[in-house]
């Protein structure tokens, strides 16, 4: 957990690598290339980089056209614009034809920080998850981001990758094997399981440490692919620990918590608590303060765990 890197920075690095390896990789941005880090690709491969200006709908449609020409387009902007502004283009031009387009959105969740609620996407996982043909990936750190982007490039079809603005702890090393649709257990435990995604996975690991100190054995399951979700890993955790706390930097409606609730409700009802943004918009502030404000800290996860254990 020593080094810290923002997932968007890892994205910029791996895009430049992919650009060198595969001449079919093209990148589009909507006037945010410095922020999304697609600028690193643009500098190396200017002929394969298309700045579409502040016009996300056209960016997504153009990406679909490039895919129809056999290219592997990565289209990037902030999550709120990629999923919000361009939702119907993502649905009609990308997902419906199963176009080989990768929508890689940065600045997701409340940790966008100072820009405030207008720019903090807390519903994008839910929206993308509901679209047929769409794969939804939320990496936890820089290492996983690079592997996920490579997996997305190798996969033929639409993928939504959700990245963040701020530096997050590195959880994985290079030996980690990422596969679309596969989760991973980061820590074993028998009393309950944290099922987490994105930057909340590190919070869940920290929460499990705290709980270990008071004699509670918490499993930590990381779910990078929210769709298709790793059902067997989550069902096993439910059966074996009997209580699940989900954790995401996203609304508790329709995201990871929603997906887990759907799964458990149908196949293995156990005690469940969804930690996330409680059906409200974000607000301006420093990222670390906002994590506290919205109850996304390890202490909040500990509290949720204790609540469930009290019901056991």
């Amino acid at each position: 957990m020593s080094n810290m890197i923002a997932t968007r920075d890892a994205y910029g690095e791996v895009l430049a690598e992919l650009g060198a390896e595969n001449g079919d990789v093209v990148v589009l941005d909507a006037d945010l290339s410095g922020s999304t880090k697609t600028s690193s690709f643009a500098k190396k491969f200017p002929e394969r980089f298309f700045n579409m200006g502040i016009a996300e709908a056209n960016m997504v449609g153009t990406a679909a056209g490039l895919a129809a020409s056999g290219k592997i387009p990565f289209a990037s902007t902030f999550a709120i614009f990629a999923v919000g502004r361009a939702w119907e283009q993502v649905r009609q031009s990308v997902a419906y034809p199963k176009a080989n387009v990768k929508i890689v959105a940065t600045h997701s969740g409340v940790t966008v920080g100072e820009d405030g609620g207008s720019h903090q996407s807390v519903e994008d996982i839910a929206i993308m998850r509901a679209v047929p043909n769409m794969t939804v990936i939320v990496p936890a750190d820089g290492v996983e981001t690079k592997k996920a982007i490579r997996a997305a490039a190798a996969y033929n079809g639409p993928v939504y990758v959700r990245l963040g603005r701020n530096k997050v702890p590195t959880l994985f090393d290079d030996s980690y094997e990422f596969a679309i649709g596969k989760g991973c257990q980061l820590r074993d435990g028998s009393d309950l399981t944290f099922v987490a995604t994105g930057l909340m996975t590190a919070q869940a690991v920290a929460a499990a440490e705290i709980l270990a100190g008071v004699g509670v054995s918490a499993r930590v399951v990381h779910i990078p692919t929210v769709k298709p979700i790793d059902e067997e890993l989550i069902l096993a955790a439910a059966r074996e620990t009997g209580a699940i706390v989900t954790a995401e930097e996203h609304s508790v409606i329709g995201g990871l918590g929603g997906a887990v609730a759907e799964l458990l409700g149908e196949r293995c009802p156990v005690l469940l608590k969804r930690v996330g943004v409680q059906d409200r918009f974000g607000t301006s502030g420093k990222a670390e303060d906002l994590l506290k404000y919205f109850g996304l800290m390890p202490e909040n996860l500990v509290e949720a765990a204790k609540e469930l254990l009290g019901k056991k």
């Binding site: 093209v26 002929e47 394969r48 298309f50 579409m52 200006g53 016009a55 709908a57 056209n58 997504v60 449609g61 153009t62 990406a63 679909a64 056209g65 490039l66 895919a67 129809a68 020409s69 056999g70 290219k71 387009p73 119907e88 283009q89 009609q92 031009s93 419906y96 034809p97 199963k98 176009a99």
Partner: protein, 275 residues
């Protein structure tokens, strides 16, 4: 060339008959806009475009994006007639189990490049295709067919801006300007004129033609091929429902199909007396 024009005119007449018969059978679909755009599609599929019905994914093909996807019947009858799929498939237009969806779907229909029909989105995809062909140093061209009502969608202008910005001279935009949309006259619902001035201001080479004059369509597409450094927009003035007198210029025939009673009269208008 005169013979060629006459042959294309005759082909367009026959395709109109196919449109009317297909829509009468399906009892669902868009008649007016299919009849207004068919002359342009005829010139594209039977004269201008390099394509191979036996090999729909041929790398050296020109591309057509029917952004006004509700005119799908016009594209379908042309594709079937060219041999992309059996003409019998037309009987399953809009039916469960058929591949001819209400709006063009590239997943199931050979010869359809992308999914269109949600208005405003096709030009962006055409821009992406043109960029892709440029990257591949291909000499192939992209034709995007738009409706005039569709120009009310803001995304069209985002796409037009980007087409000119990236100097896509391999892109030709055809606007089927029939002047009508579902709720009535385009000029009254939300005026889009001057279409030509708008595309010119956005950086396109602009041509204005009679969209039912086969020779004019051929000439416009020839001229578009010679334009360098910018896309061409052909504003084709057309008549909604063209060819069937009692459909012509009627917004009410936007999404209505010929009834049993109307079919023989419609076919008679098109010179098809065999029914």
């Amino acid at each position: 060339m005169k013979d060629k024009i006459a042959r294309l005119q005759e082909k367009a007449r026959k395709l109109r008959i196919d449109i009317v018969r297909t829509l009468h059978r399906s009892k669902s679909g868009h008649t007016g806009g299919s009849l207004s755009v068919i002359d342009m599609l005829t010139v594209l599929y039977y004269h201008k475009m390099r394509h191979d019905p036996a090999n729909p994914k041929w790398a050296q093909r020109d591309r057509l994006v029917l952004s006004k996807g509700h005119a799908a019947p016009a594209q379908y009858v042309a594709l079937a007639d060219c041999g992309y799929f059996p003409k019998e498939d037309l009987q399953m237009l809009r039916q469960l189990g058929g591949h001819l969806q209400g709006h063009p779907d590239s997943k199931g229909t050979p010869g359809v490049e992308v999914c269109t029909g949600s208005l405003g989105q096709g030009l962006s995809m055409a821009v992406g295709m043109a960029l892709g062909l440029s990257l591949d140093k291909s000499s192939n061209r992209v034709y995007a067919v738009l409706g005039d009502g569709e120009l009310q969608e803001g995304q069209i202008w985002e796409a037009a801006m980007s087409a000119a910005h990236y100097r896509l001279d391999n892109l030709c935009i055809l606007i089927d300007a029939n002047g009508l949309q579902i709720d009535g006259e385009v000029a009254k619902v939300m005026n889009v004129e001057s279409i030509g001035d708008k595309f010119r201001a956005f950086g396109c080479h602009v041509l204005e033609i009679d969209g039912h004059d086969i020779a004019a369509i051929v000439a416009a597409l020839d001229e578009a091929e010679q334009v360098k450094g910018k896309p061409t927009a052909v504003v084709a003035r057309t008549v909604k429902g063209k060819g069937v007198s009692f459909f012509e210029n009627k917004a009410s025939y936007h999404g209505v199909t010929p009834s049993d009673e109307e079919l023989p009269r419609a076919l008679q208008c098109l010179g098809d007396c065999c029914d």
